[in-house]
């Protein structure tokens, strides 16, 4: 009996490999287990190896484990790629149509054969799932129910064929069960839990936060957000548009934001580059808008399907000129949901662009989560005026950019009587009219940045203390790997994450950092971007050091464990 098992499912891209991995996580999550999947795929539609590594555990997990218990191979590459990572007692299950070197731990199974006989070859993943079900002792009715639902909307024929494939695979050779069995310990609680990727949590968070408009241009690894909202918006009175480019996306989202709708766009690094001028306008013209950046390898097209966290400089330092912006950095799926909700409140409260930063692994890794908390998102529209608030104002005299102590000016939206005003993205007066007056320029600049002072007081650092002199910090999906590594190494160091990068709560961080001998910042980029920002804002340069990886793959638990070990020695 094991507390966790790691399985790689691999085959040719386009054959439903990733879906099979996600199905496995979903099925086991119904039984009370936690799963985490890590996808490896390439920038093509069909052909080429793709695989998903899945760790199933009796406890909540935030990353996949490195060593593998089961390889399920629908192509030869999967075996070649992962044989080295197989544990000593690990097994390989492979499609018997593949000719591989026979070893004691390898079991040929008629996956394609059964699929062909009972349905069509593409259903070999259903056969694969059935065999995994045998390995893991998943009750056959659970598998049956799941697949019945899964294929229900695809038509009767596809549904019944898949069920036939499943049944045939389940009755295949009684004795095999004993040979390949890998039993998991019972889950702590036999309750069904949701399985989500970060992008789904972001999209759901946006919906719950009252976002009703999204304009976007498809891009890996952000498209799931527009796909989700495009599917659900009609029911809730919202609109999602796929537009001609990211420049149109940000400007359209701002148009909707200006007109009073909570609106957003989502993209990855290349789109951020195109949106940068627009984001500056949102800062200058004080338009609420939420931008999601699901980072991938850059610069330019980089490695579109690989993981990196290298947009931090461009997001933090932004486009030309000085303007306020807020950057949130969730590091779990649950935080993706909550922080997206928060992003829309902050955007309207502070009337500025809010950028929510994810990364490929956080955006795309399917994982079992504890149910999201409805109460975590409460809509607060900030200083948005109502028409009756404007009754006493003489038509034409409303000051959209009135100078206030906090820097926040109550906002009217088109359609409101007595709230008429001009907005320009050139420097402007309190009335919103263009000006080149030095004194007004200075006042307006200070007003826009004054807004951020309030935010700097918010607590954004989360630290899990283990009474150590070392603090490890990671943002995005790296935090999940760090958490697993620290726990696996016996909780020997403190670790944490920063949930809001800009404005950076420098005082709070400085105070916390004071206690430590060393702060190790783990990040997926070459130029130590997060480390550099922290050093610039906090000082303590001799204390803060970077641990980077920039080969397009996320950190493994082992890599971080080794780093932790090195620190102690």
């Amino acid at each position: 009996m094991k507390d966790s098992l790691t399985i790689v499912i691999g085959g040719i891209q386009g054959e439903g490999i990733v879906s099979t991995g996600v199905d496995l996580i979903k099925i086991l999550s119904r039984l009370g287990y936690y799963g985490f999947g890590s996808r490896r795929f390439s920038s093509r539609i069909k052909g080429g190896n793709t695989n998903i590594q899945v760790t199933i555990s009796t406890r909540k997990i935030t990353a996949v484990e490195d060593k593998i218990d089961i390889i399920l191979a629908l192509d030869k590459d999967t075996i070649a790629c992962y044989r080295e990572e197989l544990k000593e007692d690990g097994i390989i299950l492979y499609d018997n149509l593949l000719t591989i070197e026979e070893t004691e731990n390898a079991e040929a199974l008629p996956m394609t054969e059964i699929a062909k006989r009972k349905g069509s070859p593409i259903m070999k993943t259903t056969a694969a799932l059935a065999f995994l079900g045998k390995v893991l002792d998943i009750p056959s009715e659970i598998l049956g129910n799941f697949l019945d639902n899964r294929f229900g909307h695809k038509g009767e024929k596809i549904q019944s064929d898949n069920m036939a494939v499943l049944e045939e695979a389940l009755i295949y050779e009684e004795g095999i069960h004993e040979r390949i069995r890998k039993s998991l310990a019972s889950p702590m609680k036999k309750i069904s839990r949701p399985v989500m990727i970060g992008n789904e949590a972001i999209a759901l968070g946006a919906l719950m936060a009252g976002c009703r408009f999204m304009a976007a241009y498809p891009i890996t690894p952000a498209s799931e957000i527009m796909e989700f909202l495009g599917a659900v918006f009609p029911k809730y009175g919202g609109s999602m548009l796929q537009v001609e480019d990211e420049i149109a996306a940000i400007n359209m989202a701002m148009g909707a934001g200006y007109a009073g709708v909570r609106s957003m766009t989502a993209t990855s690094g290349p789109g951020i580059s195109l949106m940068t001028e627009g984001i500056g306008m949102a800062g200058m013209a004080e338009i609420p808008v939420v931008i999601v950046d699901c980072q991938r390898v850059g610069p330019s097209t980089g490695m579109p399907t690989k993981h990196e966290q290298s947009d931090l400089f461009t997001l933090y330092y932004g486009g030309h000129g000085d303007y306020p912006a807020i950057i949130l950095t969730p590091s779990t799926v649950e935080e993706c949901f909550e922080d997206t909700g928060r992003a829309f409140n902050l955007a309207e409260k502070y009337q500025c662009p809010v950028i929510l930063v994810s990364d490929l692994m956080l955006s795309l890794s399917p994982q079992t989560i504890d149910p999201l908390d409805y109460e975590k998102i409460k809509i607060d529209r900030g200083s948005l005026l109502k028409e009756k608030d404007l009754e006493s104002i003489v038509d034409g005299k409303y000051k959209r950019f009135t100078l206030t102590e906090e820097g926040i000016s109550p906002r009217s939206i088109p359609g409101m009587k007595n709230g008429i005003h001009h907005v320009t993205n050139v420097e402007h007066t309190e009335n919103g009219l263009p000006t080149e007056d030095s004194e007004i320029r200075k006042q307006m600049m200070e007003k826009r940045f004054r807004k951020m002072e309030l935010l700097k007081k918010e607590n954004t650092l989360k630290v899990i203390e283990n009474d150590s002199d070392f603090l490890f910090i990671a943002i995005g999906s790296t935090f999940g790997v760090l958490k697993e590594a620290v726990e696996a190494s016996g909780n020997k160091v403190d670790f944490g994450s920063i949930r809001m990068l800009k404005p950076l709560p420098a005082e709070e961080l400085s105070c916390t950092f004071e206690k430590y001998k060393k702060i190790i910042v783990i990040e997926n980029n070459f130029s130590q971007q997060l480390t550099a920002i922290l050093k610039e804002k906090i000082g303590k340069s001799d204390k803060i050091e970077a641990f980077t990886k920039y080969d397009g793959t996320p950190f493994t638990i082992t890599e971080i464990i080794e780093k932790i070990g090195g620190m102690e020695a």
Partner: protein
């Protein structure tokens, strides 16, 4: 009230005396008045350049955005609140250089907004540089040997992009311009009005006089059918684009994107989703 006063915020425009843009500003104000659009229901959005200043002289909700991107912004406004009358304005650089992409896609998206291009065939605010609508040989500071690239043909590419309302007008013929703006606003779909608006400072070729001599008035052609795409295309080729009047209107297009505009404006939607509904959504992930 005088229509100009009703829709003017009393700021003196910073255009050169004699600039064609004054006439277009007045044209928009008179058209809004004749259509009785309440000031607070009108959004005038503009891009960058001399033309971009126009929104800043309106007594309405008005927005002055970054260069070349006003159409996406204006569409965002309309998508957010369908009850607003939305007019986007820009120059020939805004609409046919940096923003060409958005112009074409706005046409095929066919949202119910009006786009007026203040076309002077030159970049005025940068102090005289060539435009994609300048004629070959047009000498400017950036084209000392004369413009070398073919001018774009705004009418023909608009028809190719599926525009459902295409008109051309001239600052020197305000009555026709007002009529075309009114019809454009009334048109259920994207209306594009290309207004020849002379730059008296930097364009010594395409002057008021030149346009008077060279623009053919389509309304004089009694057999012209504005619903005939082929005829519209022929007229534009025949006149090398130098014609004014309503060139084309298609009222039969089932707007493919109109379904994205809700009955209730997005800005007025109920935002809170009940907990039972949230639990239903969560269920999809199990």
């Amino acid at each position: 009230m005088n229509p100009v006063k009703k829709y003017s915020n009393n700021i003196q425009p910073n255009w050169c005396p004699g600039c064609g843009h004054f006439s277009i500003l007045r044209g928009i104000q008179v058209a809004a008045d004749q259509l009785r659009i309440p000031n607070e229901q009108l959004v005038v959005a503009s891009g960058i350049g001399c033309s971009g200043r126009l929104s800043g002289y309106m007594h309405s909700y008005s927005f002055h955005g970054i260069h070349g991107r006003i159409l996406p912004f204006a569409q965002g406004v309309k998508l957010a609140n369908k009850d607003l009358a939305v007019i986007a304005v820009g120059g020939d650089g805004d609409g046919f250089a940096i923003g060409t992409n958005h112009t074409l896609h706005a046409m095929r998206r066919n949202l119910n907004i009006t786009y007026i291009v203040l076309n002077n065939q030159v970049y005025g605010l940068t102090k005289g540089h060539t435009s994609p609508l300048s004629e070959i040989g047009f000498v400017t500071k950036s084209t000392p040997a004369g413009a070398a690239d073919l001018p774009l043909k705004p009418g023909i590419i608009s028809l190719a992009a599926g525009v459902t309302y295409l008109a051309q007008s001239f600052s020197g013929d305000q009555d026709q311009m007002i009529d075309l703006i009114i019809k454009g606003i009334q048109h259920q779909g994207f209306s594009f009005i290309n207004v020849f608006s002379p730059c008296i400072t930097f364009n010594k070729t395409n002057t008021y006089q030149w346009y008077r001599e060279n623009l053919k008035d389509i309304e004089e052609d009694k057999d012209y059918d504005v619903n005939n795409l082929q005829q519209a295309m022929s007229k534009l080729i025949e006149t090398d684009g130098l014609c004014k009047g309503l060139i084309y209107q298609n009222t039969h297009v089932e707007n493919p994107s109109q379904h994205t505009i809700k009955e209730t404006s997005l800005a007025q939607q109920e935002l809170n989703i009940p907990e039972e509904e949230f639990q239903y959504l969560m269920k999809q992930f199990q």
